[in-house]
Symmetry: C2
Subunit: 436 residues, 2 copies
C-alpha cells in the first residue's frame, strides 16, 4: 500500500516511519511512503507556501496552488474544472472531518494508494476543498500544530491491518474496538509480582473458559471506562447482555431525583397558578424513575384535594388491587412521593442524603444553557434534583432556586411542543442513557 504524504515537514516522519514494525513493513515493501513538500512546487524567491488570512487574525493560511501542483504530479486534478476523478482517495487531516475509527481504518486498508494532505498553521485556503474531492478525517477532538501527527496515527492504524504487517496474523484482529469493545487485561510473568497474582483461570488450560473470561472482562472494562460505547456501537450477544446485567456499575441515577411541579407554575397569561395532577403524568414519570433506577420522584402540589387524589392513586397500585394485577407498576409508583412545595422536596432529599441537591430546571423555551455532560458531572458527587413544570412553565421563584436550566430539547427548532411526559423521558435518557 502506498501513502502519498503532502507536508511542509517531510522530515517530521523520518523516525516514526523507519523504526519498529513500521520500519520492517517498509523494508518488506508492505507499505511505502512518498513524501512531497509543496514548497518544492513554488517559484517565487522566498518559496512562499502561505500568507496572512483575509479578514485578519493570527497565523498563516496555506496557498492552494503549490498543493494543487503536487497533486497534479500524482494524477489528481480538480473536479470543478472537469478534471477526471482519479479514483484515488484524497484525505485531509482536519478537526472537522469524519472521526477516525477502527471501521474507517479497515475501509482505508482496502485501498492500494491514499494521498494524505497535512495542513499547517491555520489550515489551507478553503477553496482547496471547493475544488478537490477531499475527504476530511479527524483523529480526535483536540487541536494539533498541523496534520502530521494525525497522519501518523492514521497511517499506523491502517498499515497494521495489512496482511503480514503484524508478526502474528491474528494479532491485528483481537484488539480493542475490533469487536466494538475495549480489551481484556493481559498478564505475563512472573506469576506473583509485589504480592499480586495472576487470575487462576488463565492457567487452567481450558480455552473455552479462558475465552469466556476474556469476553466478560472486555465487557466489564468497557462498562467501567467507556459505557457510552456499549449503547451505540457494540455488537453484543445475548450472553453479553446477561453478563452486563450482572455486572455492578456506576449508577449515576441513584443521585438523581425529579419533581413535577403543579404549583407555582404559570398559566397562559403568564400569571402564577396551580395546575391539576394528571394521572398519566404520575404513571409515566414513575415508570421512567424506576426504569432508570432514580433516587425517586416527587409530585408537588399544596392543594389538599389533589394530594389526596395522588395518594389514592399511588396506594391503589402499591398496596391496593393494582399491586396484584401489575407488580411492575407497583415498583414504579412506590418511587413517588407527594410534597407541598419544592422546598419540602429539597428538605427531604437533604434529610435522606445529608447533602443539599443541585437544582436543575427544564423548559421548552427559555434560555437554558446547561448540557447533559455538566449534570452528569454533578451526579458523580452530589444529589441532583431535576425539576419539570406543568401549565405554561415554572414560576420565576422556582427558577431562582436552581443553578440553571437545561438547554431546551430540539433547541434548533422553532416548534417545541412536547408533552411533559415526553420531555421527562427524553431528558432522563439524555442524562443516563443505557449505561449510567
Amino acid at each position: 500500500m502506498k501513502f502519498n504524504l503532502i507536508t511542509l515537514f517531510p522530515e517530521f516522519f523520518d523516525s516514526p516511519l523507519s523504526h519498529g514494525l513500521m520500519g520492517k513493513a517498509v523494508e518488506k515493501d508492505i507499505v511505502s511512503f512518498n513524501r512531497i513538500d509543496p514548497r518544492s512546487y513554488t517559484e517565487d524567491r522566498h518559496r512562499s507556501v502561505d500568507d496572512r488570512p483575509y479578514g485578519g487574525g493570527p497565523g498563516m493560511v496555506m496557498f492552494v496552488e503549490p498543493i494543487a501542483k503536487a497533486l497534479d504530479d500524482l494524477g489528481i486534478r480538480p473536479t470543478r474544472r472537469g478534471g477526471m476523478e482519479s479514483g484515488k482517495r484524497l484525505v485531509m487531516l482536519s478537526p472537522k472531518g469524519r472521526p477516525l475509527t477502527q471501521s474507517l481504518a479497515r475501509e482505508l486498508a482496502a485501498e492500494d494508494e491514499i494521498t494524505l494532505v497535512c495542513g499547517r498553521y491555520e489550515g489551507i485556503d478553503a477553496r482547496f476543498e471547493d475544488l478537490y474531492p477531499v475527504e476530511c478525517v479527524s483523529v480526535g477532538d483536540y487541536v494539533l500544530n498541523g496534520g502530521e501527527a494525525g497522519a501518523l496515527s492514521l497511517i499506523e492504524s491502517v498499515a497494521r491491518l495489512l496482511p503480514d504487517f503484524m508478526g502474528h496474523a491474528e494479532s491485528g484482529t483481537e484488539e480493542s474496538f475490533s469487536s466494538g469493545l475495549l480489551e481484556y487485561p493481559h498478564y505475563t510473568r512472573p506469576p506473583e509480582y509485589e504480592g499480586l497474582g495472576v487470575p487462576e483461570v488463565l492457567s487452567s488450560g481450558n480455552h473455552a473458559v479462558i475465552e469466556k473470561w476474556r469476553r466478560e472482562k472486555s465487557l466489564e472494562t468497557t462498562l467501567a471506562s467507556r459505557p457510552e460505547i456499549l449503547s451505540d456501537a457494540a455488537d453484543l450477544t445475548r450472553d453479553d447482555v446477561l453478563h452486563l446485567r450482572s455486572t455492578p456499575r456506576k449508577r449515576l441515577g441513584r443521585n438523581l431525583s425529579m419533581a413535577l411541579v403543579h404549583y407555582p407554575v404559570l398559566n397562559k397569561f403568564g400569571e402564577k397558578a396551580a395546575v391539576s395532577l394528571t394521572n398519566l403524568d404520575i404513571h409515566d414519570m414513575s415508570r421512567v424513575s424506576r426504569s432508570y433506577s432514580l433516587a425517586g420522584m416527587y409530585a408537588v402540589t399544596p392543594i389538599e384535594d389533589q394530594k389526596r387524589l395522588a395518594d389514592k392513586l399511588i396506594s391503589h397500585w402499591t398496596e391496593g388491587p393494582g399491586s396484584k394485577v401489575n407488580p411492575d407498576r407497583a415498583k414504579a409508583l412506590s418511587t413517588v412521593q407527594v410534597k407541598d412545595s419544592l422546598e419540602d422536596v429539597v428538605a427531604n432529599i437533604e434529610r435522606e442524603t445529608g447533602k443539599r441537591p443541585v437544582i436543575v430546571t427544564t423548559s421548552a423555551r427559555g434560555a437554558g444553557t446547561l448540557i447533559p455532560g455538566q449534570v452528569r458531572q454533578w451526579l458523580e458527587e452530589s444529589p441532583v434534583l431535576l425539576v419539570f413544570g406543568t401549565g405554561h412553565g415554572l414560576a420565576p421563584e422556582i427558577l431562582e432556586m436552581a443553578v440553571g436550566s437545561l438547554r431546551p430539547i430540539r433547541f434548533m427548532d422553532g416548534y417545541n411542543h412536547l408533552s411533559v411526559r415526553s420531555a421527562v423521558a427524553i431528558t432522563v435518557d439524555r442524562l443516563l442513557g443505557d449505561a449510567w
Copy 2:
C-alpha cells in the same frame, strides 16, 4: 514543562520532537523531553521486556518490573506498598482511557511535569495499573501499534498551549474546539483562484462584521460536519441558537415515519389481540413527530369504531374548536394518519416517496440488536418506518416484516416497564437528538 517518555522505542520520537515549532520550543527550553527505555532497566542476558500472555493468544505482554524501576528513578513509587504519591501525573496511553479532548489538554498544560507510559504489543501486565495511580488517556477509537503515536498527539496538543510556544500568543486560543466549535474557513492570496473568489466580507475591514461572519461559519461547519458536538459540548449564545435555527441542515427525520400498532399485537397470554386506541398516545406521539420534523405518524387499527374515534380526535384538533384554542396541537395532530394495517402504512409511504421503507420494530424485551447509528445510516438514503406496539408487544407477523428490532431501552437492566409514550420519545430522540 517536562515530559518523561517511557518507551521501548525512544528513537520513534527523534524527528517529530526536533522539527518545526516543537524543535524551536525545545531550543527555547519551553518543553523538554526525557526519554527512558525500560530495556535499560533489565538485567537478564536477553534484556527481556516482555513475554507471552498467560492464557495464550497472540502477541507479547510487557513486564511491570522494568517500568517500575524506571519510574522509581523518577521518584514515582507504587501507592499499594505505602509509597508516597509523588504528585506527578502518570499517564498511560490506552484505548480504554479517558478520551483526549481540548479541555484535558488544557488541564495537562498546567502541570510542570508529566510522565507518559507507552505500551507496546498487547499492552502492559494488568498489575501495573493495580499498583500505580495511572491515568489512562485515549487519543481516539482506533488501534495503534503502541502508545508512541498517541503520546505524540498528546504532547503536541498540550505543548502548543504553553506560553510562547506559538509565534502569536493568540494563535493557540482561536482554533477548533477552543470554543467548543469547529473552525471557520480561512482564505489567503490570491483574491481569485481557478475562478473562485474570497467572501467579500473578509475585505470589508469591519472587524465586528468579520467576527460575526466567522462565528456563523463556525456554527455552520459544526452543524454540517459534527452536529452531535452542538448538543453536548458547545457553549452557545442566544445569537448562536438563532443562527443555527436559520441554517438549513440535514434533516434525517424527514425520512422517518412511525406507526403505533393496535392490531395485531399480543395480549398478556401471548395471543393475538386488538387493543383500544389511547387518546394521549396519539397526542404525545404526534407532538414528538412534529417536534422532530418526522415524515409522519400512523395509528394502525382495522376496527371501524376505533378509526372513527381517531378521526374525530384528529379533526377536533386540526379543524374543529381545538385548532383555534391550540394551533401548536393542530400542527402536531395534522401529521397523524389512521390505517387498517401495517401493509397499508407501507404502501402509503411507498406511494409518497417512491421507495419501500426499511421497517424497524421496537420492543421492551426481546432480542433486538439494531443500534441508532445503523438506523441513521438507513435514514440518509431511504424512508424508515419505526414500529411500536401496544398491549404486550407486536405480533410475530409484524416482526417478520421488519429488517430487525432496536435493542431495548435500558437493556442492561432487568426492569423495563416504560410507557409506549416514553419509549417513542426516547427512541426518536436517540435517533435524531437535537441536530438531525
